[in-house]
């Protein structure tokens, strides 16, 4: 899998609601491209959840977060059940196993909606850090992609897109949460036979992998890099 800069740009566009940019990038994309893109969405969702919530003690916070997210995304029209939202976030922080037998459309709706709200609470720098970390982790599975990514680090950073991020409060770590300096990203391993996981799951032309298809055993701890101010 090669998660490239345009995959990152597409996730950024999806999360910030930049529909024109998203359509430009994803509307006519090949299955290979969509597979990498959807994998990145899932990886960022898990990383973002771990960034926002620490551990099993966060369960009440997750319940409230999912409820607020459903309200923001239309209540009954949100497209996902609260149980699924809580289970996905709970799986990311180790409260419960990864849900199995997921409905694909509901899984996609939940991940995208919750990811948008997670990102809305992050600073621009923190969100970019999550994107970069998730991309890097996925590319580690592909040496060539990893090398290309390393080479691209010399490229200038993308233009600051804060105007398209949600204008409501950015989440600033409180003094207590400043201790949360560790970011865990699950080791993401996909089935070799992609046909097993490559089932239609369209959200605006994009399909997300089922979380149950991912091996989410933690593969170590990533130290959160210090963002340039």
């Amino acid at each position: 899998m090669n998660v490239a800069a345009d995959h990152v740009a597409a996730v950024r566009a999806l999360v910030t609601g930049d529909d024109d940019a998203f359509d430009r990038l994803a509307s006519d994309a090949e299955p290979e491209w969509l597979y990498a893109f959807s994998s990145l969405v899932t990886a960022v969702f898990f990383a973002g959840t771990q960034f926002r919530f620490v551990n099993a003690e966060s369960r009440p916070d997750i319940i409230r977060f999912v409820a607020r997210s459903r309200i923001r995304h239309g209540g009954d029209e949100a497209g996902f059940s609260p149980s699924l939202g809580e289970a996905l976030m709970g799986a990311a922080v180790g409260i419960n196993p990864v849900p199995s037998e997921l409905d694909e459309a509901e899984n996609s709706a939940a991940q995208v909606a919750l990811l948008k709200d997670l990102a809305g609470e992050l600073s621009f720098q923190d969100f970019e850090l999550l994107l970069a970390t998730a991309r890097s982790e996925l590319n580690k599975m592909d040496p060539q992609a990893h090398a290309e990514e390393e080479g691209a680090r010399q490229d200038p950073a993308p233009a600051r897109a804060s105007s398209t991020l949600s204008p409501r409060m950015y989440w600033r770590p409180s003094s207590a949460s400043k201790r949360r300096v560790k970011l865990r990203l699950p080791g993401l391993t996909f089935w070799r036979d992609r046909s097993e996981t490559f089932r239609p799951n369209w959200i605006r032309g994009v399909r997300l992998p089922l979380v149950a298809d991912l091996d989410l055993r933690p593969r170590g701890v990533l130290r959160r890099a210090r963002c340039p101010q």
């Binding site: 009440p60 319940i63 409820a67 459903r70 309200i71 209540g75 609260p82």
Partner: protein
């Protein structure tokens, strides 16, 4: 809840039916009072989340069930059509607990609610038996 389960286990079918009726009357009354007027689905989502996070605990009734029984008590009865009776009872019990604990309601108020519900349930069951 443990006490309730223990007592429930030792009851026969008639007694269980009576308890369910009392529970339903008490829950409906409490929900109507708590959500007077026309609460939006968002109000209910917010209440249930807070109840599960703060009062009932996440291992109580599933969120979907809890939201449905509250909205079902408030003129959206069709939401209950697909639920199992056992799930309805569990969610009603859980949310009744949450409503009565929301503002640290005095025990005598809870007793009053249950006494009223007992009377209504008795009348309902008597009427049903006479039919």
């Amino acid at each position: 809840m443990d006490t309730f389960r223990r007592l429930h286990k030792s009851q026969d079918a008639d007694a269980r039916r009576a308890v369910t009726a009392v529970l339903t009357f008490a829950f409906t009354k409490a929900a109507e009072k708590r959500f007077s007027g026309h609460p939006s689905p968002e109000d209910v989502i917010d209440f249930v989340a807070d109840a599960r996070a703060r009062v009932v605990g996440p291992n109580g009734a599933p969120t979907e069930d809890a939201e449905k029984v509250i909205r079902g008590a408030l003129n959206e009865e069709h939401l209950l059509a697909t639920m199992e009776p056992r799930a309805i009872a569990a969610a009603q019990m859980s949310m009744l607990f949450a409503i009565t604990h929301e503002n640290e309601r005095a025990p005598e108020q809870v007793d009053g609610l249950l006494a009223w519900a007992s009377g209504e349930a008795e009348a309902y069951l008597r009427g049903r038996a006479a039919r």
